[in-house]
Symmetry: C2
Subunit: 202 residues, 2 copies
């Protein structure tokens, strides 16, 4: 056996062992269930990631419902792309952050109206994925109480997935979630004077 | 002025001040440029986020190119959804992680062939967004050298955006990036025995 063959054999032995470990983990994971996912943190990628899952779910021909609770004018690209597709419910339930609307009453009314629509989706087993985009802020600002949100999430159809996005997710949401990613803002072009770019940020 | 009116006025004053701060920051950010984004970390949401940006960009009717360097059979939903759309170049450049293929030579050949195609996209100003999904592993495993990657990224059309995903992004990629998100795995359903769910994980 020459040197190259020996290296190849060593690589194969190493990767074979790794494969056995990974395969065993995959074999141990056999449950199917509707997941509650929370994407939080200050970094870029929370809503984008939710929209990536929307695309993925549409790839299986399943229905999805998206509720955008805060975003105002800036969610142009994703709305243009998804809202016209069959199988997609798209609800814009806010006019922007509270410092833009400057009326707490109007914000609360928009949030509550959005939540009533989201509740209907969260009872519909034909909807495979519900995105509650920026719901965390509704909890933080106390536009909606956790006592209203949690029972609805818990009572949803068992195979329905829910993705909640937004900064500073409340501990109750994190505790209830199956999967939680915290997206740290290591660096952002905005701080270098780059405005929100079409197709990337909006 | 009664108590409720006073609360309303206080809210308006607070939010007005916040609005001024936010507006000033937005006014200061006026540059447009093609961004290099790196989405790294061990948590769920790196590739999903890239696909969310693909959807966003398609919402503006622009062209995108996606190169999936590692993923094998599991990227079913996103491929089914995006690969058939007009304006999308979709290249699968790997057969799975190295411990699945168990042949370093084959992995390197697949990575290099993918990179040659990606290089062409990275020279085409009509492509608004290039996703180099899981490129970080090619650097980690030394399937491709940074000396080959960096000059191509630097010489790309000035308005072209690039998203690189994958765990353990090399410092050189992070340093060169405009926006970097590090996605921490706070909790993942897989560890509770839930297998990859259609429309969420694959």
């Amino acid at each position: 056996m020459d040197k190259e063959e020996a290296a190849r054999a060593a690589h194969k032995a190493r990767t074979q062992k790794h494969k056995e470990v990974v395969d065993a983990k995959i074999a141990a994971a056999q449950t199917d269930k509707g997941l509650l996912l929370v994407l939080t943190g200050n970094g870029k990628g929370k809503s984008s990631s939710a929209f990536g899952m929307v695309a993925r779910m549409l790839g299986y021909g399943r229905r999805v419902a998206i509720f955008q609770f805060i975003k105002g004018a800036e969610n142009v690209g994703e709305r243009a792309f998804f809202s016209a597709l069959p199988g997609v419910i798209w609800e814009k339930c806010g006019e922007g952050f509270t410092w833009e609307t400057q009326s707490r009453e109007r914000d609360i009314a928009a949030a509550r109206a959005g939540w009533e629509k989201a509740k209907a989706a969260l009872q519909d087993p034909d909807i495979a994925l519900v995105v509650l985009d920026e719901l965390t802020y509704l909890v933080t600002y106390r536009y909606l109480e956790l006592e209203e949100i949690m029972p609805v999430l818990e009572a949803r159809p068992p195979m329905q997935h829910v993705v909640i996005t937004g900064r500073s997710a409340h501990k109750t949401l994190v505790d209830a979630a199956d999967t939680v990613s915290a997206i740290a803002d290591v660096k952002h072009a905005f701080r270098d004077g780059v405005r929100a770019q079409e197709g990337i940020d909006r």
